[in-house]
């Protein structure tokens, strides 16, 4: 038993950073990411007697981690599915598919310097946090972490068509939120 503890503790020190970094590419929320890494080590502890000493502990830990991430994401979207009832596209577009007057994109005075403007980025972050979590994950994985659409569909267990619907809605909402909150403050 003491050998286990020493070895596990070593593994925690060696692999935590890498496991966490990997988790963060899929799960934005810090608390959830930390919990998942922690649970990975706990699961490893439980399965330790079955761990084949000849194989690489890193590979083994990553296998456990990936399963935990997949489980987490699946559960999250099962919960989220219930909550999204209003389609932002119906809010922005009329029955003919034209922009509703109050949602028409306004002129932005875009300066490339805006990309680094801390206040602007803060507004973006806030708007992002208002997206339904299902969509914000899809957007994050696609635009922030640049995963392939196929990979994302696999991770989130959705079809490609669903994926594009989500991205479309998220971007429309994000743009509108950004415009409403940014322009009113300038």
């Amino acid at each position: 038993m003491i050998a286990d503890q020493k070895e596990m503790t070593e593994w925690v020190k060696i692999y935590t950073k890498e496991l966490y970094a990997f988790t963060q590419t899929r799960i934005a929320d810090v608390q959830s990411a930390e919990d998942i890494v922690q649970n990975t080590f706990l699961a490893a502890l439980e399965s330790y007697p079955r761990f084949e000493r000849k194989s690489n502990p890193r590979t083994w830990l990553f296998a456990i981690l990936k399963n935990k991430i997949a489980d987490f994401l699946r559960q999250k979207y099962k919960d989220a599915e219930m909550k999204v009832s209003i389609d932002p596209l119906d809010i922005c577009f009329d029955e003919d598919g034209s922009w509703r007057e109050c949602h028409r994109p306004k002129k932005w005075h875009i300066d490339e310097k805006l990309l680094d403007d801390a206040a602007f980025l803060q507004v973006l972050k806030n708007c992002f946090s208002h997206l339904p979590s299902k969509w914000s994950s899809a957007v994050q994985l696609k635009y922030v972490y640049e995963h392939s659409s196929k990979e994302i569909c696999n991770d989130l267990q959705i079809t490609l068509a669903n994926f594009w619907q989500m991205i479309h809605r998220a971007k429309v909402m994000l743009r509108f939120c950004l415009e409403s909150n940014w322009l009113k403050s300038t």
Binding site: T16, V37, Q38, L45, G97, R175, L178
Partner: protein, 87 residues
Amino acid sequence: MRKVMNTIMLSCRQATEMIEKKRHCRLVGMQGVQLKMHLAMCKYCRRYNKQTHLIDRLLKRHRQFNSSTFDKSVLEERIIADLECKL
């Protein structure tokens, strides 16, 4: 006449969807042409196109905000303590 127009012309709603899709996969068949036509005629969708591209660039930068706050040692200590309870 309207029905014919609708099959040839994209609505703004459809155009915004094509704009998002175009970023990552090729538009098929007439879609590319239809989008170009729509953008030539619709200033709101032209604005949308510009703005959504800016957001994409912003989101890429946003990545830097995510990773800087991780405190490795705190998480490690927590895990080690947790494991000790279980052993």
